[in-house]
Assembly symmetry: C2
Homo-oligomer: 410 residues x 2
């Protein structure tokens, strides 16, 4: 087993909060990782571990001591409940449990469990005891269940708890790992996916809207570190749109375990002005997007990214009909355009945006793009689009935009 | 309002089942349609209507009479409950309710509602009455709620129902539409999305596996009629794989309201044999997929489709790392490759496959592809792939496969 100690505190954990209800977080790897081959699985587990450490580090869990052991990560911390909340948001984590560590002596396990049940389980609830054991001990897993179950009913009689083996209100769980044991009653679902860094980097088009941050987040969830690129349409929108995009990127960086620290702001107003003046109005959105794709490809070159991610969904806008997606795609010749929201309904995207935490920022009021035509093409002809681009001198627009692009530290 | 009568029975509904508990299904359009502009909304509503009629037609609801009215579709049928189940699977439908139609006289409404509550609401449940009214009547919506609520408590006293306005067990709902009224107590969620036919056609790569049918279904859910294409890898797989793919396509056609009637079977074994003999083993899967893309592009030409849909997800296979997706994408030069599952976790895809009904077929045992190398490239070099293709004479393999492709009627 690889060894990895948390960068926050080396050696033995400095704080041993004997009296705290919880002193440990048990972190489990996502199912996505479990189904991989040995080498990939180990690599991904190391990445999760690194990101767990980073996440705790950037959010001030100064006492945390992180230890990987037998397909789990154990985080020793006084603030186990707060750490749990944080760690459910680390990609590659399937679930976490706030737990109390004890020795593997059966008496210690029972004492710790009784204290936990007394404090956390509601009176009258049904319960079951579960035990997973690794190592050699004087007792079997069944012994633990039997003894603990009996003691809960005897010593906590006043709570009137009933045993229910199938679908109980509370599963009192004991994990025995060699000379240590962990007791817990709650498990919180993690975000799942692959650890950030498991896949190559992508350039993500990030607007101030609802969709694109969700697309960014989904790329991150599958392991890709992102480089957000915002196209500033001023004067066709106002500064509030830019503010929204920057704030959204900051919200996304909460999920990035410290790896998302900058974004590109590309001036796009001049390009858009040319489009509105020189090209057929009904093609505006398509031409606008195709210029964005081209700029994104150049940024992908600079960033050594492997693809472009957008928030487009089939039929979501006139420019995103199945027909027009083909017209758009044709502009990206060197990188694939990835559209994680391709088949999402708006309600599904909104629900995810709320969970991610970008919804409130995205729905804040800002001036909508004034360049959007009232009758956009839903089945544009590629030849017409290309003819318009020739007249516009698209490459020059792209070059100019890139020259004036700035990198913003988040 | 556009008028559209069901092709199954013209004129007045032939069957008037006075004594049936339900005689009507209320069909509501999905939220995706509601947010569109007027013209698009009407077009999409007409498509839903057409698909509702087709769905009923192909599944033997011979008595069904379909009528669109004020933002809803009303289906008159003796088999309202079975029709409900069927119509939740029509894309573009947000929900359905089995209902009893009455006149808009308050006394009739109360009588119908009492009968429905008597038969469907469990004793001791809490309930609320809701009323939506369109048209001019002698009573207000509030009058309906008050009168019906009072009558339920008086006449159905033996059921011991209690009024609970917020989150009741059952919402007894009355929809008054001019001279008619509909009473119901249950609403079932529909599949949502856009009506099939709202978007351009796509060519979908369909294997016997779990992922690709879900990707096909998601394309359909966003309105795209699909043309499934199966690549037959015999002798590297066996005939069971082909059987699985065909059966999966049939399962998908259950969702297609009659529009999915054929699939392409493309012989791919010879191409794969050449790849395994002449190219580096670690590139096998990438070369195999790139040939598939090229064949799919030719089929898209023939079918006048606008894109290619695959079941690829980031990192799901070695050939699907972010890096290798770029290598794959480069082979499709004329059509976009759409990957609706791009950011899905395996568990999410499996859950959806179960809901769609393809999971059981997909997980049936078949010989896995014997051409897959033990150490596939996860970061292949495009130049190496192109060099291997040159040696292979890819265009000839594509042409040969197309020549031997067959169209199978489902």
């Amino acid at each position: 087993m690889y060894a990895y100690l948390c960068s926050i505190s080396w050696g033995e954990p400095s704080v041993k909060p004997e009296n705290a209800l919880y002193d440990t977080v048990i972190v489990r790897f996502s199912g996505e990782i479990g189904i991989k081959g040995e080498w990939t699985r180990r690599t991904y587990e190391k990445l999760v571990l690194r990101n767990v450490v980073k996440a705790l580090h950037t959010e001030g869990f100064a006492d945390a001591f992180v230890e990987p052991k037998r397909g789990r990560i154990y985080v020793k911390t006084e603030k186990a409940e707060a750490a749990c909340e944080r760690l459910t948001r680390v990609f590659g984590v399937s679930s976490v449990s706030p737990a109390k560590e004890t020795t593997s002596s059966l008496m210690d396990i029972v004492q710790a469990a009784l204290r936990l049940v007394e404090a956390t389980v509601e009176d009258g609830a049904s319960f079951a005891v579960r035990c997973h054991r690794v190592g050699s001990h004087e007792y079997s897993s069944m012994d633990v269940c039997r003894e603990l179950g009996a003691q809960v009913q005897r010593q906590l009689e006043h709570k009137r708890l009933t045993v229910k083996l199938k679908a109980p209100d509370v599963a009192v769980t004991v994990e025995v790992r060699d000379e240590k044991a962990y007791v817990f009653t709650e498990t919180f679902r993690g975000v799942g996916g692959f650890p950030l860094g498991a896949q190559a980097k992508t350039v993500c088009l990030l607007s101030g809207g609802i969709d694109s941050p969700v697309a960014c987040w989904l790329a991150m969830k599958r392991g890709s570190p992102i480089v957000p690129v915002y196209f500033d349409n001023t004067p066709f929108t106002d500064e509030k749109a830019t503010e929204k995009a920057v704030e959204t990127a900051r919200k996304l960086s909460d999920w990035a375990s410290g790896s998302l620290r900058r974004m590109y702001i590309v001036p796009h107003g001049e390009s858009l002005r040319q489009v509105t003046q020189k090209a057929p109005a009904r093609l505006t959105c398509l031409l606008c997007k195709r210029i964005m794709y081209r700029v994104a490809e150049c940024i992908a070159d600079m960033e050594k990214a492997q693809g472009i991610v957008t928030g487009e969904a089939i039929g979501e806008q006139a420019s995103q009909t199945m027909h027009n997606l083909r017209v758009l795609d044709e502009a990206a010749t060197r990188y694939p355009v990835h559209r994680p929201l391709l088949a999402f309904d708006k309600t599904e995207t909104e629900a995810l945006a709320k969970r991610i935490g970008t919804f409130d920022v995205s729905t804040r009021r800002a001036k909508p793009c004034m360049a959007a035509p009232s009758k956009p093409a839903t089945r544009a002809k590629l030849e017409a689009v290309k003819a318009a681009e020739e007249k516009l001198g698209v490459q020059e627009l792209v070059d100019n935009a890139l020259r004036k692009a700035v990198v913003l530290r988040l």
